[in-house]
């Protein structure tokens, strides 16, 4: 179930009131559950249909691997109840030097699971190493440290992070920064950093971790075991161990949930969600996820063929002819809702979702009217024809018939979504052909082929973060060949993107972000379709879950306990 973003969806839980007594994270430092009554012990069995592809943070792609890193490694800050950033390892921080220096005070007394003390030096080393090899081995992790100049550890419980310019979203970015054990990893920087990618923590179990868990047993296609780290600085695990088991298909995972082998499924597949919900034997939680599916259009201004697809007006017609309700109802079996913004609903509570960006209604007549107005008339076979053009990108008259690339790695049925869109677009004289995209990497290769000149459109999705920075960045020119999937290139937009990152005043940044969202919507590099919901289910024999927090919080694994 790999999607384009490595992190599992974090749910917009801003409005959800946490009933239990806090999440037990760093700053609040409360214990989970009603004090004294928490039943300790037992093995928490979690089922997943996407495995941990690697325990090496420099090469892992799949979301479950990132969950594992949250559980293994200290973070300076993390999300707590109410999707608010709070300290994890850091107890407090202060900003100085005009927003260019962040000083974190760290909890003392933590140790790595092998007994070596955890100090600020570990954090400084990890940060500086990532920065040093950011164009090579550590590129995957470097996004979290954009604009960071260096990190220093003046004493074991103080970390200083220096930026080369003031940054508006320093804390949300640092939330994605994991502290690795220096005494293990500093032997792996040979070969100009390349060895960072070849080291295999899975061959040296148990892993050396300073978070609440170490991994004692690992199997990509089997069970990975998390055991509590006795030296963890925060609230310790209620379960005696957490076992994450991979399933090749949802059918067998749900069968095991029903049989009691699995206690918790943190992303119930859409096809299973309604039956799990209706069975009444589980606690089921639904909330808006971070994943938004879209139709991705090649937006490279230098695209040589089918240039009518660069015209926002044409894409507006296509949007009118797209039935989001039916997609939500059929493809996602009701566990999704229509959405039009590049930024997912999870960011709404934090104020990053422009309320003016709304999906167009499903209106075939209106769509036909727009295309008629553009002079694209239907040919004898019912498909519209685009007249010949002149100039630099001259193209002969051609039919509105396009390939739509669909990757196989989607977490929903891409074929079904395609069928719905193809049926509707046929009604406005636009024909689309199914093109199989392969897995994520193959599909991305199709999009980037020939410097973004070969593909027309794709059916895909994005999983963003709470902070809008990342999702705004995917439309910039510098993201070509790394995260850009549209080939969009607009210097004015790129300048705005850089500017929003430096605005430290919330209102100012919000205004600019909203403006950029509106621009993206008007340009329609994507037609956003629906925002997926995140459905979790747990056996009633366990309680204390924080499904809305996703694995952004260490309490995600530490808090659940037997009821």
């Amino acid at each position: 179930m790999s999607t384009r973003r490595p992190l599992i969806a974090l749910v917009a839980a801003a409005l959800v009131v946490m009933t239990a007594a806090g999440c037990g994270t760093g700053a609040s430092n409360s214990t989970s559950g009603s004090a004294g009554t928490v039943k300790k012990g037992g093995i928490l069995n979690i089922g997943t249909t996407s495995g941990i592809d690697s325990l090496n943070p420099f090469i892992a792609i799949e979301s479950q691997a990132y969950n594992a890193f949250v559980m293994e490694y200290p973070q300076l800050v993390q999300y707590g109840p109410g999707i608010k950033l709070e300290g994890d390892w850091a107890t407090s921080w202060k900003v100085s030097n005009g927003g260019k220096t962040y000083t974190f005070h760290l909890k003392p007394g933590g140790k790595w699971s092998d007994g070596v003390p955890l100090t600020a030096e570990d954090a400084a080393w990890t940060g500086n190493t990532i920065i040093k090899y950011k164009d090579g081995a550590s590129a995957v992790l470097a996004a979290a440290l954009t604009h960071v100049k260096d990190m220093q550890a003046p004493n074991p419980t103080t970390l200083v992070v220096n930026y080369d310019q003031p940054v508006g979203n320093a804390l949300p970015q640092l939330e994605q920064f994991w502290v690795l054990p220096k005494h293990v990893w500093d032997k792996q920087v040979g070969n100009n950093g390349k060895d960072l990618k070849t080291y295999r923590p899975e061959q040296h179990l148990p892993t050396v971790a300073a978070g609440p868990y170490t991994i004692t047993s690992y199997a990509e296609k089997g069970t990975t075991v998390f055991k509590p780290n006795p030296y963890f600085y925060g609230p310790k695990s209620n379960a005696a161990a957490v076992a994450l088991t991979y399933y090749t298909n949802s059918t067998s995972m749900i069968a095991d949930l029903q049989a009691g082998t699995v206690d918790f499924v943190d992303q119930v597949p859409f096809d299973a969600a309604s039956s799990v919900k209706n069975s009444g034997t589980f606690n089921v939680d639904e909330g808006a996820g971070a994943e938004v599916t879209n139709i991705t259009f090649n937006s490279n201004p230098a695209k040589p063929k089918n240039r009518e697809l660069l015209d926002p007006k044409v894409k507006e017609a296509l949007e009118y002819a797209t039935n989001r309700q039916q997609i939500a109802k059929t493809v996602f079996q009701g566990f999704a809702f229509p959405w039009a913004n590049l930024i997912s609903k999870q960011s709404q509570g934090a104020g990053w979702v422009n309320p003016a960006v709304k999906p167009l209604p499903y209106d075939i007549a209106k769509a036909n009217q727009i295309l008629d107005g553009l002079g694209y008339m239907r040919g004898s076979n019912g498909i519209r024809e685009v007249p010949a053009t002149t100039g630099k990108y001259a193209q002969p008259a051609h039919q509105m018939s396009y390939d739509m690339m669909v990757p196989t790695s989607l977490d929903f049925s891409g074929q079904r979504e395609f069928d719905i869109i193809a049926n509707d677009w046929a009604k406005i004289g636009v024909k689309i052909n199914f093109q199989n995209g392969g897995d994520s990497q193959q599909a991305y290769a199709i999009e980037t082929a020939g410097n973004y000149t070969k593909f027309d459109m794709a059916l895909w999705d994005w999983v963003g973060y709470i902070d809008p920075d990342f999702m705004l960045s995917v439309l910039t020119r510098p993201q070509w060949f790394s995260w850009s999937d549209t080939g969009y290139s607009n210097p004015a937009y790129d300048a705005e993107y850089i500017k929003q990152g430096t605005l430290t005043d919330f209102k100012q940044r919000q205004a600019l972000v909203w403006k950029m969202e509106q621009q993206a919507y008007d340009q329609r590099q994507y037609i956003q379709l629906v925002n997926e919901e995140l459905v979790t289910a747990n056996a009633k024999s366990w309680t204390g879950f924080y499904p809305q927090l996703g694995a952004y919080c260490k309490c995600y694994y530490t808090s659940p306990h037997q009821s």
Partner: protein, 328 residues
Amino acid sequence: MSSGPPDQIVPLNEANVVVGPDAPAEIAVGPRSLMRTVLLENRAAMIGTIILVVTTLIAIFAGVLAPHSTTEQIGPVYAPPSSKWWLGLDDGGVDMLSQMIYGARISMIVGFAGAAVAMIIGGGVGIVSGYFGGRTDIALMRITDYFLVIPDVPLMIVFAAVFGRSLLNIIIIIGIIYWTSTARLIRAQIKSVRERVYVKRAQSLGAGHNRLIWKHVMPQVVPLLVANTVLTIATAIFAETYIAFLGLSDPTKSSWGRLIQNSLSGGAIFHNAWWAVVPPGLAVTVVILACTMVGQALEDAMNPRLKVGHLSVRRFRVRPFSARLDTR
């Protein structure tokens, strides 16, 4: 005895008859009337023929027969069978009956076309090998033997993974994997026909190879080729379900194999939607049984040698099968 490689050391496989000398398979009556007799007299073969004819008709007239679209949602997800939709709906609220009908088309196309490719390659190799004998025969049969031993499904997976997924590719892949049994069978038949007097006489009268093959040899071989092709259809349909299940089929063409795959990936089981699980597999099973009944009845009638006891290890075509369907 004929020339060519010694029969006794060819590996024990496929239609490879280890026992006894090459007993000539004399076809006493004309091939066409023979086929008719077999189909009329053998009840199982008759039922099989009816099933195949009906399925083929369904495949041809899918457009007329299917009550609904195979892509459009017409009701709630996994709606059970009712008077509105006799076979219920699938995970996308799409009519199962219509998909079964169109699935018949794709499955039968794969079956017929795949078998045809196998027949052309295998028949060609068999004829050339059996007719010309000598070094050609040795070389071709060696190649056949090697391909016979390489496991079909892994090879199919490799082919499909390398060449990409399209209906045409799958047909070609099936054809080039299953030609070997046909080649062996036809070669044996040709060799025995060739030895027969009238071919020799025709040869001595100065007829060319072409004329000999088409005029005298082919009529004796064609019925067997037909029987073999019918059996290969079953293999092809079976193989397609494997390819589809491994996600290597054409994603835009819904076959029975894909419907089986879809019932797993769409979670039909925990919706208790037996109507999405049972029909496609049942259809495959019935059609394969039908092909086997017809093909084997024909083959047995035309090539009595194959009936020589249980020691003649030969296959059920879908998978190895050492005995025939003893339906009489």
